[in-house]
Amino acid sequence: MIRYLIRRLLWAVVLFVAITIITYIIFFMIPTDPARKACGQLVTPACVKSARHYLGLDRPVYIQYYKFLERLVVHQSLGRSFANRQNINSIIGRAAPITASLVFGGAVTWLLLAIPIGILSALRPRTLLDRSAMVFVLVGISAHPVWIGLIFSWFFGYKLGITPIAGYCEAFSPPQGAACGGVVQWFYHMILPWITFAILFAALYVRMIRANVMETLNEDYVRTARAKGAPESRVMFKHVLRNAMLPVVTMLGMDIALGLGGAVFTESVYSLHGLGQTLVQSLSGDDLPTTQGIVVFGTLAIIVFNLIVDLLYAFIDPRIRLT
């Protein structure tokens, strides 16, 4: 177990260095100049020179990278934004809870949708219910989250007025000037984003759960359990679902990581200022430190999350041992 953890952590360090170097190189290949941007419209060579010095852009790229690593390891600081000079730890500190709300709430939603629909479809194959579920799968996979989001926002928010059109409320300690705050408002504002975010994954999961359950139902041990007179609920929970759900746990870990990247579409439609939207803004604003900060944070989050899933998997499935 300890060896496994050490090995994973070492890989995490290698992965981290590789990803940050690649991000740095990509940025230095783009022929842009954040210093010029910092000087505004009426740019002068003196201003650009001074801004380049302030931003540290007048040093060689390897020195800049070294400074970035030093700052990160020694001071746990991701630096300051080129665009608005804000502390990037604070920027990520504000954005990460929003993305986490969306992704984890979305994951709960897609499981709430996918598990019952998938099981029902498997238990009643080729019925109207099953065919309807397959139509849902087709639509969920085909429709882009931005389109779904805009339609939901217009229909439920604008036409029916039963949900907010857009916006986010902090569950705890909303900033001064915020339109709303508190857990109830947070929940209310996240309903449409969660559903929008969940539809694609729910569709994929319905199909996967349906196939797994149908396959498990035909296993010998299920037939044996029934032959021995085990109650149906026991057969379903202990024998069918426990085995059918194992791949779901693995997929969930990977899909939540994937969802961190995909969240940008939902965040964009519903004006949620999470990591995805912040990343897009930083990319369009040539704001390397913010982009780098989000990449670092995202990499660490995914590494940690996958580690947790691996450990959880070993716990759920006794056949798997961490070596």
Binding site: L42, R94, P116, T163, Q176, G177, A179, C180, V269
Partner: protein, 553 residues
């Protein structure tokens, strides 16, 4: 099998019930969902709720803020020495003494400006506003620790350069004594009054006084206001809360009790829906490009809820005078061949109005000379271009509009034997490349919005050859004509009506005889307010709704 089915049905029911419950979880007082204002029908009071779609303020600190949106907010939070009235164009772009009791006394050959500050003014925290408060703004802007973009706008004040080199050195040319402020220039600068009306010079409590903003390159998110409002709170990337300044006794309006920028970087489509539904009073960030025609049809223009006003800005093709377009006739040929109306149409309905001159039509001094056509005149263009084929490189932006404009220019110039190859870049990259003297381009698709409403900010900044450097240029056509450089310098030294008239004539002369650029558009600001919002007035200098006037119905 029966039990299995029931299990599944129960699971589905629980899932569905949770979703439905969530749908009904909205409390009645949810502000986002469109709670009605208790001030319906009233012209004053209440809280205006705004969005900034696809955008945010850069800073709220007056020493750093340089975005149009930031200035629209600072306009109501600041009381500069001279200011622009809360009126539509043209009155809204004429200076009036605001923090100053009167226009300054000008002496020493136009190099010394002496202001008398109004007495009895106070910041929103109760601290008196004196000459020291105005000097504090200059010193803070000049402090190298601020890294302020204001520096080029006051570098002709005595001591400004020294102050930029040392954080402890104040700007020696700005002296404050009681209610008297004197500003000494290194040379006569007739546009200094317009520059001093810029919000970089918004008064702040002097160091040591209560509420004095710290000197930090990150800027401050709140500061004591001197105008009819003040910024009470701002979370970067989040809401901005603006409140009435109870100590403000000046003449400017203040209809709403508070203004809340609820959301920044909002999706433009969802924000538009929010304004239509009345959840949001006004989106400072703009509208979806496809919405304009429909809004104009439904509400009319400048009547109820949809407004179109010119901005002090010009879009043009910088024709690189160092390369292919060193030939004056060829530059004129491009001006005859360019489909100006077509270029504007690509930006959506009511995006702007065509022009063939550098000075915007709503800037004081502009004279309409009707030099080039707004639709191509290929016969005349071909005559000027002569025979033979040439090739040119055009730089434009990667935006769909920029790309389409590149294609249109390509088609227009093909008619006169110029084969244009279009290179696309991100906006910032394109400006950087076009601002580099050695860059191999012939045409650059650029625009310029007034920093302050004076022709100098267009003519001298964009066309004077004296300011061409190896990189970071604003003269994107690299036009450098000794005669016109002298004439622009001479115009810059003039005061009053003669200054504007001279610049107006110079604009037409240069465009007619030298055609260093191919101007094609003066931008429009297009805005939409909710049905619950009234008192819309466009502030022509800041090019957005005047927030001090905007009110709830």
């Amino acid at each position: 099998m029966h039990k299995r089915l029931w299990l599944s049905v129960v699971a589905v029911a629980i899932g569905a019930a949770l979703l439905v419950a969530a749908g009904f979880a909205s409390p009645a007082n949810s502000s986002i969902s469109g709670a009605k204002s208790s001030f319906a029908g009233a012209k004053t009071g209440g809280t205006l709720r705004l969005n900034m779609s696809s955008s945010d303020v850069d800073y709220i600190d007056p020493a750093l803020a340089y975005y149009q949106l930031s200035w629209d907010i600072l306009y109501i939070a600041c009381r500069p020495l001279l200011n622009y009235p809360d009126k539509p164009s043209p009155a809204g772009s004429r200076l009036f003494p605001d923090g100053a009791a009167a226009f300054p006394k000008v002496s020493n050959g136009g190099k010394l400006y002496t202001f008398k500050i109004r007495s009895g003014m106070k910041f929103s925290n109760g601290v008196p506003i004196t000459a020291k408060s105005y000097k504090a703004a200059f010193d803070r802007d000049a402090n190298p620790k601020m890294e302020s973009p204001a520096v080029p706008f006051f570098s002709d004040i005595v001591g400004a350069t020294d102050a930029q080199g040392n954080p402890k050195t104040p700007v020696s040319g700005v002296k404050a004594k009681g209610l008297t402020l004197s500003v000494r220039l290194t040379k006569a600068g007739p546009d200094i009054l317009s520059r001093m009306a810029m919000l970089f010079f918004c008064p702040v409590p002097a160091p040591g006084q209560k509420g004095a903003p710290s000197v930090t390159s990150q800027g401050v998110n709140t500061f004591p206001g001197s105008g009819p409002y003040y910024v009470a709170a701002r979370t970067p990337g989040g809401p901005i809360l603006i409140k009435r300044n109870k100590f403000y006794k000046g003449p400017r309006p203040h209809n709403a009790s508070a203004i809340s920028v609820v959301s920044v970087n909002t999706n433009v489509d969802t924000s538009f829906t929010q304004v239509q539904r009345g959840e949001i009073n006004y989106d400072m960030g703009g509208l979806p490009p496809t919405a304009h025609a429909g809004l104009a049809k439904k509400y009319g223009i400048n009547k109820q809820r949809y407004f179109v006003h010119p901005v002090i800005a010009t879009r043009y093709l910088g024709l690189n005078n160092q390369r292919l377009f060193r030939n004056t006739k060829l530059r004129k040929a491009v001006n005859y061949a360019l489909d100006r109306k077509g270029m504007i149409n690509l930006r959506g309905a009511y995006a702007g109005h065509p022009t063939d001159q550098l000075l915007p039509s709503n800037l004081r001094g502009y004279k309409n000379a009707g030099i080039f056509p707004f639709r191509p005149n290929f016969t005349q263009a071909k005559k000027l271009a002569g025979s033979g084929s040439r090739s040119a490189v055009m730089y434009t932006t990667t935006s769909p509009i920029g790309v389409n404009q590149g294609t249109l220019v390509q088609a227009d110039l093909k008619q006169i034997g110029i084969d244009v190859s279009v290179s696309k870049f991100g906006t910032g990259t394109m400006y950087k490349k076009c601002g580099t003297k050695s860059e191999a381009f012939d045409i650059c698709n650029v625009g310029w919005i007034a920093d302050y409403p004076d022709p100098f900010d267009f003519m001298n900044v964009l066309l004077s050859g004296e300011s061409i450097h190896d990189s970071n240029n604003n003269n994107y056509s690299y036009f450098n004509n000794a005669k016109y450089n002298r004439q622009m310098d001479a115009a810059a030294r003039l005061f009053g009506p003669k200054r504007f008239s001279t610049y107006g004539s110079l604009d037409t002369t240069i465009m007619k005889n030298a055609a260093p650029i191919a101007a094609w558009d003066n931008d429009n600001d297009r805005e939409f307010i909710s049905g619950k919002t009234g008192c819309y007035t466009n502030q022509p200098v800041y090019g957005l709704a005047d927030l001090a006037l905007l009110c709830l119905k």
